[in-house]
Protein backbone atom coordinates (compact mmCIF):
# COMPACT_ATOMS: atom_id res chain seq x y z
CA UNK A 1 0.00 0.00 0.00
CA UNK A 2 2.59 2.54 1.07
CA UNK A 3 4.50 2.48 -2.20
CA UNK A 4 1.20 3.52 -3.84
CA UNK A 5 0.80 6.55 -1.57
CA UNK A 6 2.66 9.61 -2.76
CA UNK A 7 3.82 12.19 -0.32
CA UNK A 8 1.97 15.00 -2.01
CA UNK A 9 -1.33 13.19 -1.31
CA UNK A 10 -0.36 12.86 2.36
CA UNK A 11 0.82 16.47 2.48
CA UNK A 12 -2.30 17.87 0.78
CA UNK A 13 -4.56 15.75 3.01
CA UNK A 14 -2.69 17.05 6.05
CA UNK A 15 -2.83 20.63 4.77
CA UNK A 16 -6.57 20.30 4.18
CA UNK A 17 -7.17 18.91 7.68
CA UNK A 18 -4.93 21.57 9.24
CA UNK A 19 -6.78 24.33 7.39
CA UNK A 20 -10.23 23.17 8.51
CA UNK A 21 -9.08 22.46 12.08
CA UNK A 22 -7.36 25.85 12.41
CA UNK A 23 -10.33 27.75 11.00
CA UNK A 24 -12.67 25.78 13.27
CA UNK A 25 -10.46 26.71 16.20
CA UNK A 26 -10.85 30.43 15.44
CA UNK A 27 -14.49 30.17 16.55
CA UNK A 28 -14.36 27.61 19.36
CA UNK A 29 -12.15 29.19 22.08
CA UNK A 30 -14.10 32.44 22.12
CA UNK A 31 -17.35 30.48 22.53
CA UNK A 32 -15.90 28.44 25.43
CA UNK A 33 -14.51 31.42 27.34
CA UNK A 34 -17.08 34.09 26.56
CA UNK A 35 -19.89 31.78 27.72
CA UNK A 36 -18.31 31.65 31.19
CA UNK A 37 -17.65 35.41 31.30
CA UNK A 38 -21.28 36.11 30.36
CA UNK A 39 -22.45 33.72 33.08
CA UNK A 40 -20.28 35.57 35.64
CA UNK A 41 -21.67 38.94 34.49
CA UNK A 42 -25.25 37.69 34.71
CA UNK A 43 -24.53 36.29 38.17
CA UNK A 44 -23.43 39.79 39.19
CA UNK A 45 -26.69 41.16 37.76
CA UNK A 46 -28.81 38.65 39.69
CA UNK A 47 -26.79 39.21 42.90
CA UNK A 48 -26.75 43.02 42.78
CA UNK A 49 -29.96 43.73 40.87
CA UNK A 50 -28.03 46.48 39.04
CA UNK A 51 -29.57 46.85 35.52
CA UNK A 52 -26.17 47.96 34.17
CA UNK A 53 -24.95 44.38 34.62
CA UNK A 54 -27.94 43.14 32.64
CA UNK A 55 -27.10 45.55 29.83
CA UNK A 56 -23.47 44.44 29.91
CA UNK A 57 -24.48 40.76 29.91
CA UNK A 58 -26.81 41.24 26.96
CA UNK A 59 -24.15 43.06 24.95
CA UNK A 60 -21.50 40.35 25.35
CA UNK A 61 -24.20 37.76 24.77
CA UNK A 62 -24.80 39.31 21.35
CA UNK A 63 -21.11 38.91 20.40
CA UNK A 64 -21.17 35.37 21.83
CA UNK A 65 -24.24 34.57 19.71
CA UNK A 66 -22.60 35.81 16.50
CA UNK A 67 -19.43 33.83 17.13
CA UNK A 68 -21.35 30.71 18.19
CA UNK A 69 -23.64 30.83 15.15
CA UNK A 70 -20.88 31.35 12.61
CA UNK A 71 -18.65 28.72 14.17
CA UNK A 72 -21.29 26.09 14.80
CA UNK A 73 -20.93 22.90 12.77
CA UNK A 74 -17.61 23.92 11.20
CA UNK A 75 -16.14 20.95 13.10
CA UNK A 76 -18.45 18.55 11.25
CA UNK A 77 -16.31 19.06 8.14
CA UNK A 78 -13.47 17.38 10.02
CA UNK A 79 -15.69 14.31 10.36
CA UNK A 80 -16.39 14.39 6.60
CA UNK A 81 -12.63 14.40 6.03
CA UNK A 82 -12.15 11.40 8.31
CA UNK A 83 -14.48 9.35 6.12
CA UNK A 84 -13.12 10.52 2.78
CA UNK A 85 -9.45 11.31 3.21
CA UNK A 86 -8.53 9.26 6.25
CA UNK A 87 -10.55 6.07 5.80
CA UNK A 88 -7.88 3.66 7.10
CA UNK A 89 -7.54 5.77 10.22
CA UNK A 90 -11.25 6.27 10.79
CA UNK A 91 -11.92 2.55 10.45
CA UNK A 92 -8.98 1.69 12.73
CA UNK A 93 -10.21 4.01 15.53
CA UNK A 94 -13.96 3.89 14.85
CA UNK A 95 -14.81 1.93 17.97
CA UNK A 96 -12.84 4.26 20.25
CA UNK A 97 -14.12 7.52 18.76
CA UNK A 98 -17.74 6.42 18.36
CA UNK A 99 -18.69 6.77 22.04
CA UNK A 100 -17.04 10.14 22.82
CA UNK A 101 -18.23 11.75 19.58
CA UNK A 102 -21.79 10.45 20.05
CA UNK A 103 -21.86 11.87 23.59
CA UNK A 104 -20.52 15.16 22.21
CA UNK A 105 -23.29 15.30 19.62
CA UNK A 106 -26.03 14.58 22.15
CA UNK A 107 -24.65 17.04 24.71
CA UNK A 108 -24.07 19.77 22.16
CA UNK A 109 -27.53 19.36 20.69
CA UNK A 110 -29.61 19.04 23.84
CA UNK A 111 -27.74 21.17 26.37
CA UNK A 112 -26.45 23.98 24.21
CA UNK A 113 -29.40 24.26 21.81
CA UNK A 114 -32.03 24.18 24.54
CA UNK A 115 -30.37 26.55 26.98
CA UNK A 116 -29.07 28.94 24.34
CA UNK A 117 -32.68 29.51 23.28
CA UNK A 118 -33.58 30.42 26.88
CA UNK A 119 -30.49 32.65 27.08
CA UNK A 120 -31.53 34.69 24.06
CA UNK A 121 -35.32 34.48 24.05
CA UNK A 122 -35.98 34.11 27.77
CA UNK A 123 -35.22 37.61 29.12
CA UNK A 124 -38.29 38.85 31.04
CA UNK A 125 -40.12 35.60 30.15
CA UNK A 126 -38.56 33.24 32.67
CA UNK A 127 -37.43 34.06 36.20
CA UNK A 128 -34.00 35.63 36.77
CA UNK A 129 -32.79 32.48 38.51
CA UNK A 130 -33.97 30.21 35.71
CA UNK A 131 -32.36 32.43 33.08
CA UNK A 132 -29.10 32.47 35.00
CA UNK A 133 -29.21 28.68 35.29
CA UNK A 134 -29.71 28.42 31.52
CA UNK A 135 -26.72 30.71 30.92
CA UNK A 136 -24.48 28.66 33.20
CA UNK A 137 -25.71 25.40 31.63
CA UNK A 138 -24.92 26.78 28.17
CA UNK A 139 -21.39 27.61 29.33
CA UNK A 140 -20.94 24.23 31.00
CA UNK A 141 -22.48 22.41 28.03
CA UNK A 142 -20.17 24.14 25.55
CA UNK A 143 -17.12 23.21 27.61
CA UNK A 144 -18.36 19.66 28.17
CA UNK A 145 -18.90 19.12 24.48
CA UNK A 146 -15.28 20.20 23.97
CA UNK A 147 -14.29 17.54 26.51
CA UNK A 148 -15.27 14.65 24.23
CA UNK A 149 -13.39 15.76 21.16
CA UNK A 150 -10.36 16.47 23.36
CA UNK A 151 -10.65 12.97 24.87
CA UNK A 152 -10.55 11.58 21.32
CA UNK A 153 -7.53 13.73 20.48
CA UNK A 154 -5.74 12.74 23.70
CA UNK A 155 -6.28 9.08 22.84
CA UNK A 156 -4.41 9.65 19.58
CA UNK A 157 -1.51 11.13 21.55
CA UNK A 158 -1.54 8.32 24.12
CA UNK A 159 -3.71 5.31 23.17
CA UNK A 160 -5.19 3.62 26.27
CA UNK A 161 -8.14 1.42 27.27
CA UNK A 162 -8.28 -0.56 24.02
CA UNK A 163 -7.27 -3.77 22.32
CA UNK A 164 -6.68 -4.41 18.61
CA UNK A 165 -9.04 -6.88 16.97
CA UNK A 166 -7.17 -8.58 14.10
CA UNK A 167 -10.45 -9.82 12.58
CA UNK A 168 -12.04 -6.40 12.19
CA UNK A 169 -8.80 -4.36 11.89
CA UNK A 170 -10.19 -2.06 14.57
CA UNK A 171 -9.13 -0.81 17.94
CA UNK A 172 -11.86 -1.86 20.39
CA UNK A 173 -12.49 -0.03 23.63
CA UNK A 174 -11.98 -2.23 26.68
CA UNK A 175 -12.32 0.45 29.35
CA UNK A 176 -14.24 3.67 28.74
CA UNK A 177 -12.99 5.21 32.00
CA UNK A 178 -9.35 4.62 31.05
CA UNK A 179 -10.00 6.55 27.84
CA UNK A 180 -11.93 9.33 29.61
CA UNK A 181 -9.63 9.76 32.59
CA UNK A 182 -6.24 9.19 30.99
CA UNK A 183 -3.91 11.90 32.32
CA UNK A 184 -3.34 13.07 28.75
CA UNK A 185 -7.11 13.60 28.27
CA UNK A 186 -7.65 15.32 31.63
CA UNK A 187 -4.71 17.70 31.22
CA UNK A 188 -5.48 18.40 27.57
CA UNK A 189 -9.08 19.30 28.43
CA UNK A 190 -8.10 21.55 31.32
CA UNK A 191 -5.30 23.24 29.38
CA UNK A 192 -7.37 23.80 26.25
CA UNK A 193 -10.42 25.17 28.06
CA UNK A 194 -8.44 27.38 30.45
CA UNK A 195 -6.41 28.82 27.56
CA UNK A 196 -9.72 29.50 25.78
CA UNK A 197 -10.87 31.42 28.87
CA UNK A 198 -7.71 33.51 28.56
CA UNK A 199 -8.48 34.26 24.91
CA UNK A 200 -12.04 35.31 25.71
CA UNK A 201 -10.87 37.54 28.58
CA UNK A 202 -8.45 39.27 26.20
CA UNK A 203 -11.24 39.69 23.66
CA UNK A 204 -13.46 41.39 26.26
CA UNK A 205 -10.64 43.69 27.41
CA UNK A 206 -9.64 44.52 23.81
CA UNK A 207 -13.19 45.45 22.74
CA UNK A 208 -13.72 47.40 25.99
CA UNK A 209 -10.44 49.25 25.37
CA UNK A 210 -11.80 50.37 21.98
CA UNK A 211 -14.88 51.84 23.67
CA UNK A 212 -12.76 53.71 26.20
CA UNK A 213 -10.54 55.07 23.42
CA UNK A 214 -13.68 56.25 21.62
CA UNK A 215 -15.13 57.66 24.85
CA UNK A 216 -18.29 55.53 24.47
CA UNK A 217 -19.95 53.18 26.97
CA UNK A 218 -17.08 53.83 29.38
CA UNK A 219 -18.84 52.50 32.48
CA UNK A 220 -19.71 49.25 30.71
CA UNK A 221 -16.18 48.96 29.36
CA UNK A 222 -14.57 49.47 32.78
CA UNK A 223 -16.85 46.99 34.49
CA UNK A 224 -16.18 44.47 31.70
CA UNK A 225 -12.43 44.96 32.04
CA UNK A 226 -12.55 44.28 35.79
CA UNK A 227 -14.47 41.02 35.32
CA UNK A 228 -12.36 39.91 32.34
CA UNK A 229 -9.03 40.83 33.97
CA UNK A 230 -9.77 38.92 37.20
CA UNK A 231 -11.10 35.98 35.21
CA UNK A 232 -8.08 36.22 32.88
CA UNK A 233 -5.56 36.22 35.75
CA UNK A 234 -7.13 33.12 37.32
CA UNK A 235 -7.45 31.37 33.95
CA UNK A 236 -3.85 32.26 33.00
CA UNK A 237 -2.43 30.86 36.23
CA UNK A 238 -4.49 27.72 35.77
CA UNK A 239 -3.31 27.48 32.15
CA UNK A 240 0.30 27.58 33.38
CA UNK A 241 -0.42 24.75 35.85
CA UNK A 242 -2.23 22.58 33.31
CA UNK A 243 0.41 23.34 30.68
CA UNK A 244 3.04 22.11 33.12
CA UNK A 245 1.11 18.85 33.59
CA UNK A 246 0.67 18.51 29.82
CA UNK A 247 4.41 18.98 29.31
CA UNK A 248 5.08 16.16 31.77
CA UNK A 249 2.65 13.91 29.88
CA UNK A 250 4.51 14.68 26.67
CA UNK A 251 7.88 13.96 28.30
CA UNK A 252 6.58 10.53 29.38
CA UNK A 253 4.49 9.46 26.39
CA UNK A 254 5.82 11.50 23.45
CA UNK A 255 9.51 12.03 24.24
CA UNK A 256 10.37 12.88 20.61
CA UNK A 257 7.84 15.72 20.62
CA UNK A 258 9.27 16.91 23.95
CA UNK A 259 12.86 16.87 22.65
CA UNK A 260 11.77 18.62 19.43
CA UNK A 261 9.92 21.52 20.99
CA UNK A 262 12.92 22.21 23.20
CA UNK A 263 15.49 21.64 20.43
CA UNK A 264 17.19 19.06 22.64
CA UNK A 265 19.40 17.02 20.33
CA UNK A 266 21.54 15.18 22.85
CA UNK A 267 19.97 14.15 26.14
CA UNK A 268 21.55 14.89 29.48
CA UNK A 269 21.03 14.82 33.21
CA UNK A 270 20.05 18.20 34.60
CA UNK A 271 18.93 19.35 31.13
CA UNK A 272 18.47 23.08 30.66
CA UNK A 273 15.34 24.78 29.35
CA UNK A 274 15.83 26.99 26.30
CA UNK A 275 13.79 30.02 27.36
CA UNK A 276 14.44 31.88 24.10
CA UNK A 277 16.31 30.87 20.98
CA UNK A 278 16.78 31.32 17.26
CA UNK A 279 17.39 28.30 15.04
CA UNK A 280 19.90 28.77 12.21
CA UNK A 281 20.20 27.00 8.85
CA UNK A 282 23.46 25.29 9.86
CA UNK A 283 23.23 21.59 10.59
CA UNK A 284 24.21 20.81 14.19
CA UNK A 285 24.68 17.09 13.60
CA UNK A 286 26.06 15.81 10.26
CA UNK A 287 24.23 12.48 10.73
CA UNK A 288 20.83 14.17 10.86
CA UNK A 289 20.01 17.20 8.73
CA UNK A 290 16.79 17.83 10.72
CA UNK A 291 18.91 19.06 13.63
CA UNK A 292 19.76 22.72 13.03
CA UNK A 293 22.11 24.71 15.20
CA UNK A 294 20.96 27.59 17.39
CA UNK A 295 22.15 31.07 16.35
CA UNK A 296 21.47 32.26 19.85
CA UNK A 297 19.79 30.75 22.88
CA UNK A 298 19.12 31.63 26.50
CA UNK A 299 19.13 28.45 28.56
CA UNK A 300 18.10 28.00 32.20
CA UNK A 301 20.07 25.08 33.70
CA UNK A 302 18.25 22.00 35.06
CA UNK A 303 14.75 23.39 34.48
CA UNK A 304 13.90 21.04 31.60
CA UNK A 305 14.69 18.00 33.78
CA UNK A 306 12.42 19.35 36.49
CA UNK A 307 9.67 20.21 34.00
CA UNK A 308 9.76 16.70 32.55
CA UNK A 309 10.25 14.52 35.63
CA UNK A 310 10.02 16.81 38.70
CA UNK A 311 13.67 16.08 39.37
CA UNK A 312 16.35 18.73 38.78
CA UNK A 313 18.91 16.11 37.75
CA UNK A 314 16.75 13.63 35.81
CA UNK A 315 17.93 12.44 32.42
CA UNK A 316 15.92 13.89 29.53
CA UNK A 317 16.44 12.00 26.25
CA UNK A 318 17.32 14.09 23.20
CA UNK A 319 16.46 13.43 19.56
CA UNK A 320 19.69 11.45 19.02
CA UNK A 321 19.04 9.25 22.08
CA UNK A 322 15.58 8.42 20.76
CA UNK A 323 16.88 7.62 17.27
CA UNK A 324 20.06 5.77 18.18
CA UNK A 325 19.01 4.48 21.60
CA UNK A 326 20.77 5.00 24.90
CA UNK A 327 21.43 1.80 26.79
CA UNK A 328 22.66 3.56 29.93
CA UNK A 329 19.31 5.25 30.45
CA UNK A 330 17.15 2.43 29.03
CA UNK A 331 16.10 4.32 25.90
CA UNK A 332 15.22 1.96 23.05
CA UNK A 333 16.54 3.02 19.64
CA UNK A 334 14.40 3.51 16.54
CA UNK A 335 15.88 0.55 14.63
CA UNK A 336 14.83 -1.83 17.41
CA UNK A 337 11.31 -0.38 17.41
CA UNK A 338 11.11 -0.59 13.61
CA UNK A 339 12.15 -4.27 13.72
CA UNK A 340 9.46 -5.00 16.32
CA UNK A 341 6.86 -3.07 14.36
CA UNK A 342 7.63 -4.94 11.15
CA UNK A 343 7.34 -8.25 13.02
CA UNK A 344 3.93 -7.20 14.37
CA UNK A 345 2.75 -6.33 10.85
CA UNK A 346 4.14 -9.61 9.46
CA UNK A 347 2.26 -11.59 12.11
CA UNK A 348 -0.94 -9.79 11.27
CA UNK A 349 -0.36 -10.43 7.57
CA UNK A 350 0.29 -14.14 8.25
CA UNK A 351 -2.95 -14.31 10.25
CA UNK A 352 -4.89 -12.60 7.47
CA UNK A 353 -3.44 -14.99 4.84
CA UNK A 354 -4.07 -18.09 7.00
CA UNK A 355 -7.71 -17.04 7.41
CA UNK A 356 -8.02 -16.42 3.69
CA UNK A 357 -6.56 -19.87 2.92
CA UNK A 358 -8.93 -21.44 5.50
CA UNK A 359 -5.96 -22.75 7.52
CA UNK A 360 -7.96 -22.43 10.69
CA UNK A 361 -5.53 -24.10 13.11
CA UNK A 362 -2.69 -21.85 11.96
CA UNK A 363 -4.96 -18.81 12.08
CA UNK A 364 -6.04 -19.65 15.63
CA UNK A 365 -2.49 -20.07 16.84
CA UNK A 366 -1.41 -16.79 15.19
CA UNK A 367 -4.37 -14.95 16.71
CA UNK A 368 -3.53 -16.35 20.17
CA UNK A 369 0.05 -15.15 19.72
CA UNK A 370 -0.99 -11.68 18.50
CA UNK A 371 -3.41 -11.22 21.41
CA UNK A 372 -0.98 -12.49 24.06
CA UNK A 373 0.10 -9.85 26.62
CA UNK A 374 3.76 -10.46 25.76
CA UNK A 375 3.22 -9.78 22.04
CA UNK A 376 1.04 -6.76 22.73
CA UNK A 377 3.60 -5.28 25.12
CA UNK A 378 6.77 -6.03 23.19
CA UNK A 379 5.70 -5.98 19.54
CA UNK A 380 2.23 -4.62 18.84
CA UNK A 381 3.03 -1.55 20.93
CA UNK A 382 5.47 -0.59 18.14
CA UNK A 383 3.11 -1.55 15.26
CA UNK A 384 3.36 1.84 13.55
CA UNK A 385 7.16 1.76 13.46
CA UNK A 386 6.85 -1.10 10.94
CA UNK A 387 5.91 1.46 8.27
CA UNK A 388 8.99 3.58 8.89
CA UNK A 389 11.97 2.99 6.60
CA UNK A 390 14.21 5.91 7.62
CA UNK A 391 14.52 6.52 11.40
CA UNK A 392 15.15 10.21 10.74
CA UNK A 393 11.56 10.59 9.54
CA UNK A 394 10.56 9.99 13.18
CA UNK A 395 11.70 13.55 13.97
CA UNK A 396 8.99 16.20 13.52
CA UNK A 397 9.86 19.65 12.16
CA UNK A 398 12.02 21.06 14.94
CA UNK A 399 11.68 24.77 14.00
CA UNK A 400 7.87 24.42 13.80
CA UNK A 401 7.66 22.62 17.17
CA UNK A 402 10.23 24.87 18.85
CA UNK A 403 8.73 28.17 17.70
CA UNK A 404 5.09 27.18 18.25
CA UNK A 405 5.89 26.08 21.82
CA UNK A 406 7.90 29.19 22.61
CA UNK A 407 5.40 31.59 21.01
CA UNK A 408 2.65 30.00 23.13
CA UNK A 409 4.67 30.19 26.35
CA UNK A 410 6.06 33.71 25.85
CA UNK A 411 2.62 35.08 24.93
CA UNK A 412 1.10 33.21 27.89
CA UNK A 413 3.50 35.02 30.23
CA UNK A 414 2.76 38.34 28.53
CA UNK A 415 -1.00 37.78 29.02
CA UNK A 416 -0.58 37.46 32.81
CA UNK A 417 1.28 40.79 32.86
CA UNK A 418 -1.36 42.29 30.55
CA UNK A 419 -4.26 41.23 32.81
CA UNK A 420 -2.50 42.58 35.90
CA UNK A 421 -1.91 45.95 34.20
CA UNK A 422 -5.51 46.11 32.94
CA UNK A 423 -6.88 45.40 36.40
CA UNK A 424 -4.50 47.81 38.13
CA UNK A 425 -5.23 50.72 35.76
CA UNK A 426 -8.97 50.13 35.93
CA UNK A 427 -9.20 49.81 39.71
CA UNK A 428 -7.04 52.92 40.11
CA UNK A 429 -9.37 54.80 37.73
CA UNK A 430 -6.52 55.54 35.32
CA UNK A 431 -7.42 53.26 32.42
CA UNK A 432 -8.93 56.07 30.28
CA UNK A 433 -5.63 57.98 30.52
CA UNK A 434 -3.48 55.04 29.42
CA UNK A 435 -4.17 55.38 25.72
CA UNK A 436 -1.07 53.45 24.64
CA UNK A 437 -2.10 50.55 26.86
CA UNK A 438 -5.62 50.68 25.42
CA UNK A 439 -4.21 50.47 21.89
CA UNK A 440 -1.99 47.55 22.96
CA UNK A 441 -5.09 45.87 24.42
CA UNK A 442 -6.79 45.95 21.02
CA UNK A 443 -3.70 44.47 19.32
CA UNK A 444 -3.47 41.79 22.01
CA UNK A 445 -6.66 40.16 20.61
CA UNK A 446 -4.89 38.66 17.55
CA UNK A 447 -1.98 37.64 19.80
CA UNK A 448 -4.40 35.57 21.90
CA UNK A 449 -5.52 33.76 18.74
CA UNK A 450 -1.88 33.30 17.70
CA UNK A 451 -1.03 31.68 21.06
CA UNK A 452 -4.10 29.44 20.88
CA UNK A 453 -3.31 28.28 17.34
CA UNK A 454 0.37 27.81 18.23
CA UNK A 455 -0.68 25.40 20.98
CA UNK A 456 -2.52 23.23 18.47
CA UNK A 457 0.33 23.44 15.93
CA UNK A 458 2.64 22.10 18.63
CA UNK A 459 0.17 19.36 19.63
CA UNK A 460 -0.49 18.15 16.09
CA UNK A 461 2.60 18.94 14.00
CA UNK A 462 4.82 18.09 16.96
CA UNK A 463 3.57 14.50 17.07
CA UNK A 464 4.39 13.78 13.44
CA UNK A 465 4.90 11.31 11.85
CA UNK A 466 2.16 9.80 14.02
CA UNK A 467 -1.56 10.09 13.59
CA UNK A 468 -1.88 7.60 16.49
CA UNK A 469 1.23 7.64 18.63
CA UNK A 470 3.47 4.64 17.85
CA UNK A 471 0.60 2.70 16.23
CA UNK A 472 -0.23 4.44 12.97
CA UNK A 473 1.87 6.90 10.99
CA UNK A 474 0.06 9.59 8.99
CA UNK A 475 1.07 8.03 5.67
CA UNK A 476 -0.69 4.75 6.62
CA UNK A 477 -3.87 6.57 7.65
CA UNK A 478 -4.60 8.33 4.38
CA UNK A 479 -7.09 7.12 1.73
CA UNK A 480 -5.61 6.43 -1.68
CA UNK A 481 -7.63 8.97 -3.66
CA UNK A 482 -6.46 11.46 -6.26
CA UNK A 483 -4.31 14.33 -5.01
CA UNK A 484 -6.24 16.65 -7.35
CA UNK A 485 -9.51 15.95 -5.50
CA UNK A 486 -7.87 16.87 -2.19
CA UNK A 487 -6.41 20.04 -3.72
CA UNK A 488 -9.84 21.10 -5.01
CA UNK A 489 -11.46 20.65 -1.59
CA UNK A 490 -8.53 22.41 0.09
CA UNK A 491 -9.18 25.57 -1.94
CA UNK A 492 -12.94 25.13 -1.58
CA UNK A 493 -12.56 25.13 2.19
CA UNK A 494 -10.18 28.08 2.08
CA UNK A 495 -12.88 30.08 0.24
CA UNK A 496 -15.81 28.90 2.41
CA UNK A 497 -14.08 29.45 5.73
CA UNK A 498 -12.64 32.81 4.71
CA UNK A 499 -16.14 33.89 3.68
CA UNK A 500 -17.50 32.72 7.04
CA UNK A 501 -14.75 34.57 8.89
CA UNK A 502 -15.40 37.78 6.94
CA UNK A 503 -19.15 37.39 7.62
CA UNK A 504 -18.50 36.96 11.34
CA UNK A 505 -16.12 39.91 11.51
CA UNK A 506 -18.52 42.17 9.60
CA UNK A 507 -21.57 41.28 11.72
CA UNK A 508 -19.53 41.48 14.93
CA UNK A 509 -17.86 44.79 14.05
CA UNK A 510 -21.25 46.29 13.28
CA UNK A 511 -22.62 45.17 16.65
CA UNK A 512 -19.56 46.52 18.44
CA UNK A 513 -19.99 49.86 16.68
CA UNK A 514 -23.69 49.92 17.65
CA UNK A 515 -22.76 49.02 21.24
CA UNK A 516 -25.02 47.91 24.06
CA UNK A 517 -28.66 48.90 24.01
CA UNK A 518 -29.98 51.16 26.75
CA UNK A 519 -31.57 49.12 29.55
CA UNK A 520 -32.33 51.83 31.99
CA UNK A 521 -28.70 52.15 33.05
CA UNK A 522 -26.51 55.16 32.44
CA UNK A 523 -23.17 55.61 30.80
Amino acid sequence: MLEGINLSLVDWSRAQFALTAMYHWIFVPLTLGLAIIIAIMETLYVKTGNPEWKRITKFWMTLFGINFAVGIATGIILEFEFGTNWSNYSWFVGDIFGAPLAIEGILAFFMESTFIAIMFFGWNKVSKGFHLTATWLTAIGANLSALWILVANAWMQKPVGMVFNPDTARMEMTNFWDVLFSPMAVHKFLHTTSSSFVLAAIFVIGVSAWYILKGRHVVMARKSIVVAAIFGILASLYTVMTGDSSARDIAHYQPMKFASFEGLYNGSEGAGLVALGLISQNVADPTNENLKDFTVKIEIPNVLSYMAFLNWNAFVPGVNDLIKGNEKYGVMGAIDKITRGKLAIEKLKAYKNAKKAHQLALADSLKTEIMSPDFQKNYFKYFGYGYISDPHTLVPSIPLSFYSFHIMVVLGMYFIFFFLMALYYTLKGKIHKKRSFLRIAIFTIPLAYLASQAGWVLAEAGRQPWVIQDLMPTMAAVTKISTGAVQVTFWLFAIIFTTLLIAELKIMMRQIKIGPKSEGGTN
Binding site: M1, L2, E3, T62, G65, I66, A69, V70, I72, A73, T74, I76, I77, F80, E81, G83, T84, S87, N88, S90, W91, F92, A117, F120, F121, G122, K125, P166, D167, T168, A169, R170, K342, I345, L348, K349, K352, G386, Y387, S389, A476, T479, I481, A485, V488, T489, L492, I496, L500, A503, E504, I507, R510, Q511
Partner: protein
Protein backbone atom coordinates in the same frame (compact mmCIF):
# COMPACT_ATOMS: atom_id res chain seq x y z
CA UNK B 1 -49.07 18.32 28.35
CA UNK B 2 -50.45 20.00 25.19
CA UNK B 3 -50.66 23.27 27.07
CA UNK B 4 -47.03 22.90 28.05
CA UNK B 5 -45.95 22.13 24.47
CA UNK B 6 -47.95 25.09 23.19
CA UNK B 7 -46.18 27.31 25.70
CA UNK B 8 -42.79 26.12 24.44
CA UNK B 9 -43.89 26.62 20.82
CA UNK B 10 -45.04 30.18 21.54
CA UNK B 11 -41.80 30.87 23.41
CA UNK B 12 -39.74 29.92 20.35
CA UNK B 13 -42.13 31.62 17.92
CA UNK B 14 -41.99 34.92 19.77
CA UNK B 15 -38.24 34.61 20.09
CA UNK B 16 -37.75 34.16 16.37
CA UNK B 17 -40.29 36.79 15.29
CA UNK B 18 -38.85 39.47 17.58
CA UNK B 19 -35.26 38.57 16.74
CA UNK B 20 -32.97 41.58 16.14
CA UNK B 21 -31.30 42.21 12.76
CA UNK B 22 -28.01 40.56 13.75
CA UNK B 23 -29.92 37.43 14.80
CA UNK B 24 -31.56 37.17 11.38
CA UNK B 25 -28.19 37.68 9.70
CA UNK B 26 -26.52 34.88 11.65
CA UNK B 27 -29.44 32.55 10.96
CA UNK B 28 -28.96 33.26 7.26
CA UNK B 29 -25.26 32.43 7.64
CA UNK B 30 -26.16 29.20 9.49
CA UNK B 31 -28.66 28.08 6.83
CA UNK B 32 -26.31 28.82 3.91
CA UNK B 33 -23.48 27.07 5.73
CA UNK B 34 -25.53 23.94 6.49
CA UNK B 35 -26.74 23.80 2.88
CA UNK B 36 -23.19 24.08 1.52
CA UNK B 37 -21.92 21.49 4.00
CA UNK B 38 -24.58 18.82 3.81
CA UNK B 39 -25.99 19.26 0.31
CA UNK B 40 -22.89 20.23 -1.68
CA UNK B 41 -19.76 19.16 0.22
CA UNK B 42 -21.03 15.93 1.78
CA UNK B 43 -22.71 14.59 -1.36
CA UNK B 44 -20.35 15.75 -4.12
CA UNK B 45 -16.98 16.11 -2.45
CA UNK B 46 -16.97 13.96 0.67
CA UNK B 47 -18.47 10.54 0.11
CA UNK B 48 -17.50 8.11 2.85
CA UNK B 49 -14.81 6.08 1.08
CA UNK B 50 -15.42 2.75 2.82
CA UNK B 51 -19.23 3.01 2.83
CA UNK B 52 -19.28 3.92 -0.87
CA UNK B 53 -16.87 1.28 -2.09
CA UNK B 54 -17.69 -1.69 0.14
CA UNK B 55 -21.03 -3.25 0.98
CA UNK B 56 -20.40 -4.95 4.32
CA UNK B 57 -18.29 -4.39 7.41
CA UNK B 58 -16.40 -7.60 6.59
CA UNK B 59 -15.40 -6.15 3.20
CA UNK B 60 -14.35 -2.91 4.87
CA UNK B 61 -12.31 -4.76 7.48
CA UNK B 62 -10.60 -6.83 4.80
CA UNK B 63 -9.76 -3.75 2.77
CA UNK B 64 -8.24 -1.91 5.74
CA UNK B 65 -6.40 -5.05 6.86
CA UNK B 66 -5.00 -5.40 3.35
CA UNK B 67 -3.83 -1.78 3.45
CA UNK B 68 -2.30 -2.12 6.89
CA UNK B 69 -0.33 -5.28 6.13
CA UNK B 70 0.79 -4.61 2.56
CA UNK B 71 3.89 -2.59 3.30
CA UNK B 72 6.95 -2.10 1.16
CA UNK B 73 9.83 -3.27 3.28
Amino acid sequence: MIKYLKKIYLFYLEGFTTMPRWGKQVWLVILIKLFVMFVILKIFFFPNFLNTNFKTDVDRSNHVLENLTDINK
